[in-house]
């Protein structure tokens, strides 16, 4: 038998430990409550309140230094319920301009939040009303005024690209490492989201001494312990806001997207998704109402089609196919395929229109011959040991172009697009039981090939550059954040030499000069382009146009889709060429003015409610005024 230790003494040890802790507490309390009087002076009948001071959110400029986004003060009326006494409700409601029901509802809400802290009573007060209210406010105890900034936009344009800010939700708070608190604002989409950390700045805190009623008396220790906010960084974007606005006006009334890129840098010049909305609609207190309206609109104006729209590229893919074929060697610059009004297979025919014999690549592109590129695709695949291998190579090579994979643009919600894999066809036909002729229309951008408008524009930039691109991006410059730009200076190679692209470019020039895209011809600029008419199951074909200009030393690459717009030459090509002309020449030649007017006025969708009103001149005036007022302060 083991000796059983008498364990009673351990009970005494435990009691001693507990008693000791209590003694420590009592000594500490004696010190805090009787001896120490650090806090006593302020604490006698006052307290300290730590108030968050929001930094100014960064402003946003376009590539030419034009102000696009700034902050405007918005006036609010606050209330502290415990201080509201003996108030003439009727007179108050008259002066403020609210009814009695509103008054009672707001007072109840405020009381539920806190009796001694400020709640918002009325927000979005205009400057004039605010002045009048302030005059009478001394009569009504417990009401105070406050000013908060609201995002404002100098142009009613670029809503999708810029994004908007809104109050944080619980997810944002959780993910933010304790930075955000309820009622803070955060970028929800677009540039506001991508560069939230730069734009938001750093919060400050002020220690305010308050009296026993919770009223602010003044700063604690003359503000020596306050932390001042650090304003957010101003961003300069790559977009040309005039071009952006112009493109949006051209796209008004149509569903689709337009992306313009500077090929030599990958800078986005314009990124339009249509139908669009005035970004001012989603700013300040109007946001909730307008957001619901936009979200419920069946044309889905909140969706950024430029980054996430899924479209078969149609014939605009042919230049890419030509480059791939020549890279493979299965196509040479002098290869010609006969076109008996289509590519004839056992079973059915891929139709083609009436055009001269495509004796070489340039003519193939210029006349947009379907048969030619069905052959080009088929011989590309058959140049590999088996179809699966060929398809895998097709997918891998396109990935180098940023097709079927994200281009890496610095905006949220970009989608991959789709390039089919051999497994996709295995599923349909059985493993190994298919060959090139089963998917020959991939060569003309149909079948399961899906590109976003951004990817299409990027492929144009790649052709314009002669085989490489820089990740498309919208940030041009942010003070002291040079490292952010590193990702955009990496030259991404497709592995295809410029000598091959020479033919492709020439072919695309041909398309504009004598081929399917004559409408895009501009006298002073050699545009290289390719129309596309993408068949789709949702009604009339989509109208595509992809181009760059000029042929030598290209400055701009554009891809545009007009949903259900019919032929590529009907809507897409004219709009793209106008955008090119506007960017290159800064104005539209008199000869093409009627075309411009026709494009701006044409309407393909019935619901025009969301289309921003066109008000060219007055708007630019306000822009200038705002810049004059704000710029000197910035420097």
């Amino acid at each position: 038998m083991a000796v059983i230790e008498n364990l009673k003494p351990r009970g005494y040890v435990i009691q001693a430990v507990i008693a000791a802790i209590f003694v420590v507490f009592i000594v500490r309390l004696f010190y805090l409550q009787v001896i120490d009087d650090t806090y006593k002076q302020i604490a006698d009948d006052r307290g300290i309140r730590k108030e968050q001071v929001d930094p100014d959110r960064g402003q946003i400029f376009d590539r030419n230094g034009k102000l696009i986004v700034y902050n405007e003060p918005s006036y609010k009326l606050m209330v502290v319920p415990s201080q509201v006494k003996d108030i003439d409700t009727i007179r108050f409601c008259e002066i403020i301009g609210v009814d009695k029901e509103y008054f009672e509802k707001k007072m109840k809400e405020a009381k539920n939040f806190s009796r001694v802290r400020e709640s918002v009573f009325l927000s979005q007060i205009s400057a004039e009303d605010f002045g009048r209210i302030e005059e009478y406010l001394y009569e009504f105890k417990g009401f105070y005024t406050a000013i908060t900034p609201v995002r404002r936009y100098t142009y009613p344009a670029a809503g999708h690209l810029l994004g908007y800010i809104a109050e944080v939700d619980s997810n944002d708070i959780k993910k933010s490492d304790g930075y955000y608190r309820n009622a803070d604002m955060i970028g929800k989409t677009g540039v506001e989201k991508s560069y939230e950390k730069l734009l938001r700045g750093k919060k400050g805190y002020h220690n305010i001494v308050i009296d026993r009623f919770g009223r602010a008396v003044g700063p604690l220790n003359n503000g020596s312990e306050d932390v001042e906010p650090v304003a957010g960084k101003n961003l300069t974007l790559t977009i040309d806001i005039e071009l952006q606005y112009y493109a949006e006006q051209l796209m008004a009334g149509k569903r689709g997207a337009l992306v313009a890129i500077e090929p030599s840098t990958g800078e986005i010049l314009a990124l339009v998704s249509s139908p669009t909305y005035d970004p001012n609609m989603l700013s300040g207190s109007a946001r909730n109402k307008n957001f619901a309206k936009l979200a419920l609109n069946k044309e889905n104006p909140l969706n950024n089609r430029a980054l996430s729209g899924y479209y078969p590229p149609g014939s605009t893919f042919k230049p890419v196919m030509a480059a791939l074929g020549m890279q493979q060697g299965s196509l040479t610059s002098t290869t010609g395929y006969s076109c008996p009004h289509g590519y004839v297979m056992s079973g059915h025919t891929v139709d083609c229109h009436n055009h001269p014999y495509p004796a070489n690549v340039e003519l193939g592109i210029g006349h947009s011959c379907n048969a030619y590129f069905c052959y080009a695709f088929r011989y590309f695949i058959e140049d590999h040991s088996n179809p699966a291998e060929g398809m895998r190579d097709f997918k891998a090579k396109l990935a180098l172009w940023g097709i079927g994979t994200r281009t890496g643009i610095d905006l949220p919600n970009e989608r991959n697009g789709n390039v089919p894999s051999p497994e996709d066809y295995d599923k349909i036909y059985g493993k190994g039981r298919w060959k090139a002729s089963n998917c020959v229309t991939l060569g003309i951008g149909q079948d399961r090939l899906i590109l976003t408008p951004l990817q299409s524009a990027n492929s144009m930039a790649t052709i314009a550059n002669g085989g490489y691109f820089y990740s498309p991006h919208v940030l041009k410059f942010a003070d002291g954040e040079d490292s952010l730009m590193n990702a955009f200076t990496i030259r991404k190679e497709t592995g295809i030499s410029d000598s091959i692209f020479k033919y492709v470019r020439h072919g695309m020039a041909g398309a504009v000069n004598f081929g399917t895209a004559k409408v895009a011809h501009i006298d002073s600029i050699q545009v290289c382009g390719k129309t596309g008419t993408a068949e789709n199951p949702h009604g009339k074909s989509h109208s595509w146009f992809s181009c760059f200009a000029p042929e030598v030393n290209p400055k701009i690459a554009v891809a545009i889709i007009v949903e259900n717009g019919g032929w590529g030459a009907t809507y897409a090509a004219p709009i793209a060429s106008l955008v090119v002309e506007k960017y290159m020449n800064d104005s539209i030649s008199a000869k093409r003015k009627p075309l411009e007017e026709r494009m701006m006025k044409s309407v393909l969708i019935l619901d025009r409610e969301v289309v921003p009103p066109i008000q060219n001149n007055s708007n630019q005036d306000t822009t200038k005024q705002v810049q004059a007022a704000l710029l000197p302060k910035e420097q």
Binding site: I14, I18, I21, F22, F25, I26, Q33, D44, R49, G178
Partner: protein, 475 residues
């Protein structure tokens, strides 16, 4: 009728009165927090009204517990414990986030924290287990099982990110200590917990350095005897040992060596030093050094593994927030406001319902976690002193009751109750007066919160019921 009366006669009157007075103090102070000119005492929509209701429910439940047979609790200890574990796991899976923790379960419109009720069932289970093995040799298996009984619910609660409640479970080491577990083991378990917390707060390296320093001082002091006995061997031992320590503290850094490797070198040096003197049989060095080695390995490798591999990022973040070490301006602000509010009470306080800081809502969570501030402000040092004395008497009375039990089951259970109350009040009051990082747990019977009042009442009444049968030996 007669039987019921006899139970009431055996119920410990002093504890019952202490319990009731704590409940009254709690109600008065919850009322003080929500008080203003237009607030009536009987308003069931406000915290104090709800608290009043919950106290009524608690008393009804409590007195009906007194009508149970004591053997019910010994018989069903294991079942209740099993249910508790199951509910805790379910809570972890289905619970929604409330103040950063997933520890609340919603049943209809009623929310409760299973961890609160789990304290009672864990105490019953531990009592059951320790009473079964009472008097038997304390084998490694029995000890391990005891620690597991405590550790399993605690672990699940940590996963719920409710570190405060988990810490309260840790207080049960006091019970196993009282039941005769070796002191150094109990201290070691405590040390592992403390090392984990400190490593999170201060980082791994400082904790490792402090640990090393402690073991080195211990060895140096004990070496005097060794050197007297075996001069050369003793000095060689001391030199090798110290060389290892200095290599870790300084050498590793100079050589630019990874601290993990430096620690390994030091441990090898220490073991080599011990092997050198193995024949001297100087055992008071072996065990501490081995324990130290385990602690070091845990700190240097375990903490990182737990925080990076086992716990999710957001859980680590919450633990850090709870420990008051994230960049959380709020936590620091709370403590400042809390100390100021208590300090402003002075010697005699501002008088009941006259607490200006309390009423201008200066302290967040004042009716729940920071209720002690109200006592401090309105009743002054005079009040806090009396209050703490009442609470101390309450806990000591529970221990007194524990010690007079014949059956180990009742004794262990009562000790568990004392430990829980002790740790709750230590963390809660310690936090409001700035001695302990801000960890949100309620002050039993004082803080506003239905499930807390009910759970602690049940815990107390079960003990009163067991105590009423103190003349029997329960199995």
């Amino acid at each position: 009728m007669r039987e019921k009366k006899s139970i009431m006669e055996n119920v410990d009157q002093p504890l019952l009165w202490l319990y009731l007075s704590l409940m009254v103090i709690g109600l008065l102070n919850v009322f003080a927090v929500s008080f203003s000119d237009d607030v009536k005492f009987f308003d069931l929509s406000l915290p104090h009204g709800k608290q009043f209701l919950w106290m009524g429910i608690s008393l009804v439940v409590g007195f009906s517990i007194l009508t149970f047979e004591s053997s019910f609790f010994t018989k069903f200890a294991m079942v209740l414990y099993g249910v508790t574990i199951a509910v805790l796991i379910v809570t972890f899976v289905v619970a929604v986030d409330i103040n950063g923790a997933r520890s609340w379960l919603q049943v209809g419109s009623f929310q409760f924290q299973p961890a609160e009720f789990g304290k009672t069932t864990t105490a019953l289970m531990l009592a059951k287990f320790l009473s079964i093995i009472n008097g038997q040799p304390r084998s490694f298996k029995n000890k391990l099982l005891s620690y597991l009984i405590i550790g399993v619910p605690m672990g699940i609660i940590v996963l719920q990110s409710d570190v405060g409640s988990a810490l309260v479970y840790a207080s049960l080491v006091l019970v196993v200590y009282r039941e005769g577990f070796p002191v150094y083991e109990v201290l070691f378990v405590l040390a592992i917990g403390l090392c984990f917390v400190f490593a999170l707060i201060f980082g791994v390296d400082p904790v490792a350095v402090v640990l090393t320093f402690i073991i080195w001082l211990y060895i140096v002091f004990n070496s005097f005897k060794l050197v007297r006995k075996e001069k050369i061997k003793g000095i060689v031992f001391l030199v090798i040992f110290s060389a290892g320590v200095f290599f870790f503290l300084i050498g590793g850094e100079v050589l630019g060596m990874d601290t993990h490797i430096a620690a390994a070198v030091m441990l090898i040096a220490m073991i080599a030093a011990l092997i050198n003197v193995r024949k001297v049989r100087f055992f008071q060095m072996n065990i501490p050094v081995v324990l130290f080695a385990i602690l070091m390995v845990f700190v240097m490798f375990g903490v990182e593994t737990i925080t990076t591999d086992i716990l999710e990022d957001y859980q680590v973040q919450r633990i850090e927030t709870l420990l008051g070490m994230s960049d959380d301006a709020d936590a620091e602000y709370n403590v400042t406001q809390s100390k100021m509010t208590i300090g402003s009470g002075g010697v005699f306080g501002k008088g009941y319902l006259q607490g200006t800081l309390t009423q201008s809502e200066q302290v967040p969570e004042q009716s729940t976690d920071f209720i002690f501030c109200t006592i401090g402000e309105e009743w002054g040092f005079f009040g806090t002193f009396i209050f703490l004395v009442i609470y101390l008497l309450f806990i000591l009375r529970v221990i007194f009751i524990a010690e007079r039990q014949r059956s180990p089951f009742s004794r262990v259970y009562a000790y568990c109750v004392a430990s829980f109350f002790f740790l709750q009040i230590m963390i809660n009051v310690g936090m409001t007066i700035g001695l302990i990082p801000v960890i949100g747990i309620p002050l039993p019977f004082i803080s506003y919160g239905g499930s807390s009042v009910l759970a602690f009442s049940i815990m107390i009444f079960i003990m009163l019921r067991l105590d009423a049968d103190r003349l029997f030996i329960l199995r």
